[in-house]
Structures are given as structure tokens and as C-alpha cells.
Amino acid sequence: MSLALATLLYEWRRYMAAVVALAFSGLLVLAQVGIFVGIGKGFTAQIDRASADIMVLAPGAKALFSGPQGLPRRFIPLVYSHPEVTQVAPLDFSGGRFQNILTPEQQVKAQAAAKKGGKGGGPGGGTRKSEFVNLTVIDAIPGYVTVPTDYSPSMIEALRRPFAVAVDDTALKRLGVKKGDKALYNGKTVYVAVVTHGYPNIIQPMLVVSRDTLRMLGEADTGQRVGPLMVKISDPSRAEIVAAQLNKKGEGKFRAWTRQELADANASSMLDDQIIGIILGFSAFLGLLIGVIITWQTLRGAIMANIKEFASLRALGVSMGDLRNIVLELSFWVGIVGVLAAGLLTWVVSLVAAAGGVPMAFPPLLIVVVAIFLIVIAMLSGFLSLGVLKNSQPADLLR
């Protein structure tokens, strides 16, 4: 084991401040990105978990919901004509006002509460709620390309019935409904047939309906243009190849994405937003500043504590360059430990957040970037602390 690593492990208390600073710098960036990406995922979760291997979007789309989306209907048979494609279904979205329907008793209570000027509403959800919701569509056929893989056959069965909607358990309170309740969607009566789990959206509640229900609500795409196409192929491991072949076939009139490609693009499209970019840039800068200052001072102190030992190496003829390398190696290891600590801390925070209904999501690329960022902070601090080595004067040991 090298001197630097041995020192870090043995005198870890000395380096705690640096590791903690790095962990929080990492958390500052990771947690925010995690929340933003998590919010974005809230809108696409139902599509992400469908069994589509390939998605076909309009040529200029940067991600789902970013850039032009829809396609002419005639592309459906075109995509179908690829021999490996087994299913093609267009995505369909809608949105509108969702209102709960109170029972007569609840109405009386609500009115009484309104008179008293109180906040009204007990745990029974007996208040009038009116929310804008997003609607997405599935084909109520088990195993179909638009159906999330974690939907059970009974859920699909329930959604097949007219005017049945699925609501995530995290949205029930906000919408003031429970399973089996009737409610109004854009003035039409629907009922909560299915309660899903694991599809939170903290911006806007999401409702899932069958394609037939959407049509009965009068909101389905029936014209010449349809939403992005979800495509299932016979051998999912060939998705990349088939996507490339489809793109060739489309001659630039659409673009086929593999599921992973699109999921990555969706995650980063959230971060393209200017305001979010500014917030993140500022956080990263703050993390860098605080991380460098604390890590630098910690390293300085730790090196000073061993300065006589360093001086004795100098006396024995070890060059200043070699001592610098020891310090830089030490900084590197501090950075590595900082990355691990940041990961741990972020994991704990994300658990707490998830328990509080704020799901976070971390694209792998983001984790790599933040890890490099933390190691850069540590190395920068190491470079700054090289100055203290000047104090390693071996002549001072002769007294």
C-alpha cells in the first residue's frame, strides 16, 4: 500500500472534513439534477415502462415532449413493413380539468366548513378538488406495446371498461378521490378503476385510460396525424440494428430511437431548460468553491501535521517532486472517498425524498460527470496545498 493511501486510511479523522465537504458538494449537484430528472421521469414513466423496443418520433424531436412530435398516420404501415416489427401503436395524449364528485354528506360538511372559514376537509378527502391532469393512453390488451410491463392483467381488464381511468396512489389525495370513485374529466363522468403504484408526478397528476375510453371522451387523434409510434420487434436485442434500418427506410422523414436512447435523451432534455441550467451551474460553482476551500485547508492541515516526516524523507534524498506526487496521490484518494461518500449521502437523501413522494432519478452519465467533478475538486485542492511542502526543511530537523 502506498504512503498516501495508508496515511488516508490510518488518519482518516484528519481528512473527514474534506470528505464531508466533497460529499456535500456532490449532493448539492446530484440531488438537484436528481429532482429535475425525476420530475421529467414522472411524465414519461408510463411510456418508459412500456414494452416498446423502439420509438419513432418526428425528425426534429430532441426527446419525448421536446421538439416536434407527431407523424402522419401513413407512417404506421411503413414502419410495420419492416419484417422484424411485430407491433406498432401511436402514443396519444390529452389533458384537462379533473374534478372530484362529493357525496351529499361530504357536500354538507364542506359547506359548513366553508362558512366557518376553516380550511375544511377531513382525512376523508371531503373537499372539492379541481386539478389539471395529463392523460396518456394504453391499448387495453395484455402484453401490448403500449402497456407498462408492471401492469397486471386485472388492471388492464379494469381499464378496458368504458370511462375507466387509472390514477397513481400518490395523486389520490391531490385529486380527492379513491378507488371506485366517480369524477368529472372535462365535464364527462369517469371512474377510478385502477390505482397504480410507482408513477408519481409532482408537477401534474397523470391519468391513464384505454384508447377506446379516450375516443369516447372525444379526445383521441383520429385525423391524419398521430403521436409518436411505439414499436415492438421480434428480437429486442436487435433494437439498435432495426432502428438504424427503420431510419434508412424513413429517409429522414422520421427518426427511430431505441428505448435507451430516448430515455437518456428524455433525462437530459430536462436539464436543457435555461433556468434549470442556471440553477445547476450556480450550484456546481458553489460546490466547487466550498469543496475546494474546505478540502484545500484540510489537506494543508493534514500535511502540516506530517511535515517532519516529509522533511525526514527530504533529508534521505527524496526529491520535492516525489513529495508533491505523494500529496497529489493523497488528494486523489480523498477525491475517491469523497465520491463514495457523496454517493452514499445522495442515496440516503433520495430514499428520504422518495418516501416523501419526490422521486429522484440519476442518469449514469450524470453520476460519472459528478464523480469527475469531485475528483477535480480534490486534485485542485491538492495542487493548492503543494505550497506547504516548502515547510519540509530537513535542516529544521537538526536542532
Binding site: M1, A6, T7, E309, L316, V318, L397, L398
Partner: protein
């Protein structure tokens, strides 16, 4: 690289300094700490430098060993005919190849075991990993710490720590060994062990040992005793080391 055994060179001059002058600036004036010192040391000799506190002993050792540049004078050591005319890098290299140091403080890295301390010093000489371990083990055994090789400084007594420091200095088989008050932090018994090890390095391996001390009991082990006072050499006595020096008592 270190030249290892120099037993055959015994009696040859290993180090020679002429007219060393060193001044320190204190406030506005300079104090002259070395006032034209001539000095030499031979292979196989334990040369003891004695004198009152503040007389310039440590400063002399620093100038002889390439740690502190004198203002005037010349040091020639082994193949370096004018040590202080070399570049800093070359002086580092000279120390790396030829010099061992033992200080009053032990200056061991708290995180490293005794063996790792010695191995670390060897590593920078370009010694391979396996050879590092072998030589470290041998050096620690030679100072009587064969059973303590895996202990860290916090688990060693003061005397044992100083022996680790000696093993670290001796493992590279230096031709020149500089010791500044190596025993003053130790009790009589441990002090005796340490000076015996230095004596042995001189007699057996032919190293030139230059040892600064206050302790008159160490004189028994010396081939030569130089007294220095106020930056000047007072006297320089050659003697025969006692065959069986009386044990130290405290």
C-alpha cells in the same frame, strides 16, 4: 546507487570540509554560527562532535550533509569534490545515494508499520518491491526489531522508534551517517543500543559516522572527538574506542 560495504575503505577520508562559514540573519544583524571550520571524517570512524548548546554543531552537520548551504567554504564528500557547487537536484541525489540521517526526533509516519517505513525510504532509491521487503526485514532484524516489523509507531517505545529510524537510515547502506543527538530522547539502556548500532555501522561496513552529542558517555564509542565552541573547533582528539564500555546508568 549505494555502494554498500565499504569495509575495505576504512581509514580513507570520506568527507572533508574547509573553512565553513555560516551566518544567520537575526533582526538587522548577522550572527556568525560557523566561523571558518575545517573538518574531515574517515570511513570506519565514529567521529563525535561535542560542544555546548548553540555552539553550531547542528549547523555544521547540516552544512556537511548537503542540507544547509554554507556562506563560505567547501565540502567534498566521496565522489563529489565540491558538494555545494552541485544543483539542488544533484545534492538530493547525493543524499539519496550516500547519506543516512538519524535525528533527535524519530520522524516516522504514523500510518506506516516499521517495515513500511524502511521500505518507503528504499522505494525512492529505485529498489524493487521484493528487494525492499527483504532489505527492510534484514535492517529491522539487525536493530533487534525482527519481532516488531508490523507495528506502527504508536505501538513502539521511544527506543524502538529510534531503532526503526536507524534501520531506515541503514537499510540503504549509506557511506555517510549523520546523527544529531540520536540518544537524547532515550533512556540510558536504549541510548546504548543506538550508539552500538552506529558503532557497528562504522566498524563493520566502513561507513563514516558523524555523531553530534551532549552525552559524555557516548565518547567511549568514538574514534575521534571534536570539540566545538562558538563556531570554532577547540580540539580534535583521536582515541581508541573502549573495547567494552561501561554500561550507561541514569
Amino acid at each position: 546507487m549505494s555502494s554498500g560495504d565499504n569495509a575495505h575503505k576504512r581509514g580513507e577520508t570520506a568527507l572533508k570540509a574547509t573553512h565553513l562559514v555560516k551566518r544567520f540573519k537575526t533582526g538587522r544583524s548577522y550572527i556568525e554560527v560557523l566561523k571558518g571550520v575545517d573538518f574531515d571524517a574517515k570511513h570506519g570512524d565514529v567521529t563525535m562532535v561535542m560542544g555546548p548548546s548553540g555552539s553550531g554543531k547542528s549547523t555544521l552537520v547540516a552544512a556537511l550533509s548537503g542540507l544547509l548551504k554554507p556562506d563560505e567554504g567547501k565540502v567534498s564528500a566521496l565522489e563529489a569534490s565540491d558538494l555545494w557547487s552541485l544543483s539542488n537536484g544533484k545534492i538530493d541525489k547525493f543524499r539519496l545515494d550516500h547519506c543516512g540521517f538519524i535525528f533527535q526526533g524519530f520522524n516516522l509516519f504514523p500510518a506506516l508499520s516499521a517495515k513500511q517505513q524502511v521500505m518507503t525510504a528504499l522505494k525512492y532509491q529505485g529498489v524493487g518491491k521484493g528487494e525492499q521487503a527483504r532489505r527492510a526485514q534484514a535492517a529491522l532484524e539487525s536493530v533487534g526489531l525482527g519481532a516488531r516489523v508490523n507495528q506502527r509507531p504508536s505501538e513502539l517505545s521511544g527506543g524502538e522508534k529510534q531503532r526503526v529510524a536507524i534501520a531506515r537510515a541503514l537499510a540503504k547502506n549509506p557511506n555517510l551517517i549523520f546523527a544529531d543527538e540520536p540518544t537524547s530522547a532515550l533512556d540510558g539502556e536504549n541510548g546504548q543500543i543506538v550508539i552500538r548500532l552506529l558503532r557497528e555501522a562504522a566498524s563493520v561496513r566502513g561507513a563514516a559516522v558523524i555523531c553530534v552529542t551532549h552525552d559524555p558517555r557516548l565518547e567511549a564509542y568514538a574514534d575521534r572527538v571534536i570539540h566545538i565552541e562558538d563556531g570554532r573547533i577547540l580540539d580534535d582528539v583521536r582515541r581508541t574506542p573502549d573495547a567494552d564500555p561501561a554500561p550507561f546508568s541514569h
